[in-house]
């Protein structure tokens, strides 16, 4: 280095003009994070506004007659590749919607499925997907009672997209929703975090190394039903799909106007998922799950709920990961492994691998 280095010529505070991403859709709008939330808030909610939608839960709840409430949800599935370790787009399409309905404490009953097929798709692939959908529907105890098919020109879609819509009945006395968390409640997750996201990344060949992680995609209505039978103390249920645990807990903290405090040491993450995340610079808190749920439960009932979960095949690794506090409201905090406290924010846009 030059010994005659001059004093740094300061340019002052320089930064570019803000970008709004307001005039076009970018991938981040589909990430499940803050951009997705803003899209709903600013673009969809104003024209469609109604109480069921405004509640901001996984499914809209409507009342047909006094004492008869339905939970309705819909979900589109655009995963690449169509088949991945532990599942496929068909199983995902059924479980995703079944779970969204179940998260209101509802018993899912019927699904409708819409298919967008790309010209040239092999019929055997579609057959496999349909068989997988039926197997998942059977497991969940739902029937696929309506459907639609559209075909688009080659290049206009990525093989196959599936949208499913589901309805379920909410048993009387069940009142579960994102706004029900109360200070003192315990936060429970039903199992390990990030399995689905890492399994799909690995199946795309994007990791650059092998992993044996399988997607956790599964219908959770049986687990929910076991939990609700065991205890009336379940206040919130939510499945942490896109955006992961961190983003979903932030939604709940906002809806319930509370603070959620996580304990880093108690977060269940498989070693393979942790290793993949370390290498890519991802945080398992933000990686998608498709067969896990978060339950926010009154402290007195937490053990009972945990016991019921652990007795179910999809809840055997259930563990308490934190608790609800009053303040700072609308925030998720985490007690770190070394005893400090930090903020856990929502995913901003797309999850991006780090540089070095």
């Amino acid at each position: 280095m030059d010994e005659e280095q001059k004093t740094l010529d300061m340019e002052g505070a320089v930064c570019p003009l803000p970008l709004s991403h307001g005039d076009r859709i970018v991938m981040g709008h589909g990430s499940g994070g803050r951009l997705s939330h803003e899209l709903v808030e600013h673009l969809f909610l104003p024209p469609f506004d109604n109480p069921a939608l405004r509640a901001g839960d996984d499914a809209g709840v409507v009342q047909l007659a006094p004492g008869s409430r339905l939970a309705i949800s819909t979900d589109s599935h655009v995963v690449t590749p169509l088949f991945f370790p532990g599942g496929d787009i068909g199983r995902l399409a059924v479980c995703g919607t079944v779970n969204d309905v179940a998260m209101m404490g509802a018993t899912p009953l019927y699904l409708a499925a819409g298919f967008i097929l790309e010209e040239g798709l092999e019929a055997t692939i579609l057959q496999c997907v349909a068989a997988s959908m039926q197997a998942a529907a059977k497991e969940a105890g739902v029937s696929i009672v309506a459907g639609d098919t559209k075909v688009v020109q080659k290049g206009r879609a990525d093989g196959l997209y599936i949208t499913t819509t589901g309805v379920g009945v909410i048993p009387s006395g069940v009142n579960i929703g994102g706004a029900q968390a109360q200070p003192g409640d315990r936060v429970i997750v039903s199992g390990t975090l990030g399995d689905h996201g890492i399994a799909v990344l690995a199946a795309r060949g994007e990791l650059g190394f092998q992993t044996e992680i399988e997607s956790d995609v599964a219908p959770l209505n049986g687990l929910v039903s076991a939990m609700l039978s065991a205890s009336p103390g379940v206040h919130v249920l939510r499945d942490p799909t896109r955006g992961g645990l961190a983003t979903t807990l932030n939604e709940i903290a906002r809806q319930s106007n509370v603070c959620i405090l996580l304990d880093e040491n108690s977060l269940p993450v498989k070693p393979g998922v942790r290793a993949a995340c370390e290498m890519l610079g991802f945080d398992p808190l933000y990686v998608a799950n498709e067969g896990k749920l978060i339950a926010i439960v009154s402290p007195r009932e937490a053990q009972k709920v945990l016991d019921a979960m652990r007795a179910h095949r999809y809840g055997k690794d259930a563990v308490s990961v934190g608790e609800v506090q009053a303040v700072p409201s609308k925030r998720v905090l985490m007690k770190t492994a070394i005893g400090t406290t930090r903020v856990v924010d929502v995913l901003a846009g797309e999850m991006l691998p780090r540089i070095c």
Partner: protein
């Protein structure tokens, strides 16, 4: 995970922090160079556990943050050209150029792809011989060997449709620049462990000597950082200014010689403009003339661009350790990770992004 969990062991970290508290007698300002270290400090809340006398300021070691606006604008222009596949490390896609970013270019129809390594970009070039594949070769000494290797491979394999938009920057000149600024507050450095794993630390003794600052090669886990801080504080209290290695499990004095050889073969030193800081002489690497055919700046004549900067953000002062993200009047309000005013709010190594993600700061919202 083996060889990782022990460096996150709460008791061990607390032990080192207690030793820091016992050692310190007066106020010191330490700078961690690397943005990865900044994120680790914020993520684990290590700053919360330090005695008030020890202040950490955050350095310029975020490659995304310091890539000049002109180069980002050039990248945007090249990525918008028909027939081009523009490849980049993911972090770069959200960095604001003048009025847009690479995500917007992609949304408008540009073929912009995230790659994990420049060798993946090379593969894309082989698979798409009819397209021009450009890789945005940004980064410090850490990414330079892989980026250099991609150019060597392209030549060896006769791949003609691959080029690199090179924006390499080097740590030692930035340390000189920070220390010679009249506004400098830094009294000791935690040198960037990853950079040193490539370059070693033979470049640092002249800096330590000239400016009388201790330089401690430091890793990224909580125990590494605590140990680096302790060694720096010990030296400051003693009044010594030596280069020490607190990351010996990864870093040697001479570094990775084959990697340095590859860098030397492909790159040559050049002046480089750092976003938010300004021109630092001999602070970057660019392609040697014999590799000019792989230089995207020469291959694509993008018209001279008029970069437009806003006066609101204080990224420049944050990158030099003069101010902290929380000092910025638009932090968390007009400037957020979704709508960044500056690159420091974007990157997984940017200081503002670290504060936004991990620290509770009242923003008035």
């Amino acid at each position: 995970m083996k060889h990782l969990s022990e460096y996150r062991d709460s008791e061990l970290v607390q032990g080192v922090l207690a030793e820091i508290r016992r050692t310190v007698t007066r106020a010191w300002v330490l700078m961690e160079i690397c943005g990865g270290q900044t994120h680790s400090i914020m993520r684990y809340g290590i700053d919360q556990l330090l005695p008030p006398e020890v202040e950490l300021v955050h350095g310029p070691g975020c490659p995304v943050c310091v890539t000049s606006l002109e180069l980002v604008d050039k990248a945007l222009a090249i990525a918008s050209l028909p027939g081009v596949i523009f490849t980049s490390y993911g972090d770069m896609l959200r960095v604001p150029g003048t009025g847009r970013d690479l995500f917007s270019v992609r949304a408008a129809g540009g073929d912009v792809r995230v790659v994990y390594s420049p060798l993946d970009a090379l593969k894309i070039a082989q698979q798409n011989p009819e397209k021009e594949v450009v890789f945005f070769a940004i980064g410090f000494e850490t990414t330079a060997p892989a980026n250099a290797m991609s150019v060597l491979q392209a030549r060896a394999l006769g791949i003609k449709n691959y080029s690199a938009l090179v924006s390499h920057v080097c740590v030692p000149p930035a340390m000189h620049a920070i220390l010679s600024s009249p506004q400098n507050r830094v009294q000791a450095f935690l040198a960037a462990g990853h950079v040193c794993s490539v370059m070693g630390y033979w470049e640092y003794p002249p800096i330590a000597e000239k400016y009388r600052v201790p330089v401690i090669v430091t890793g990224f886990e909580p125990l590494d950082l605590a140990q680096g801080i302790l060694m720096a504080v010990r030296q400051l209290e003693r009044g010594t200014y030596e280069v020490e290695n607190a990351y010996a499990r990864v870093v040697t004095r001479e570094g990775n010689l084959p990697a340095q050889g590859v860098i030397q073969q492909v790159f040559t030193t050049c002046d480089r403009k750092w976003r938010g800081i300004g021109m630092i002489p001999a602070s970057g690497w660019c392609l040697r003339p014999e590799f000019a055919e792989f230089n995207a700046e020469e291959r694509f004549s993008v018209r001279q661009i008029q970069p437009e900067e806003s006066p609101l953000c204080i990224a420049g002062q944050v990158l030099q350790g003069i101010k902290k993200p929380g000092d910025c009047p638009v932090f968390g309000t007009q400037c957020t990770p979704e709508r960044p005013l500056g690159a420091t709010m974007v990157s997984s190594e940017g200081a503002c992004a670290a504060y936004y993600r991990y620290v509770l700061i009242e923003t008035g919202q």
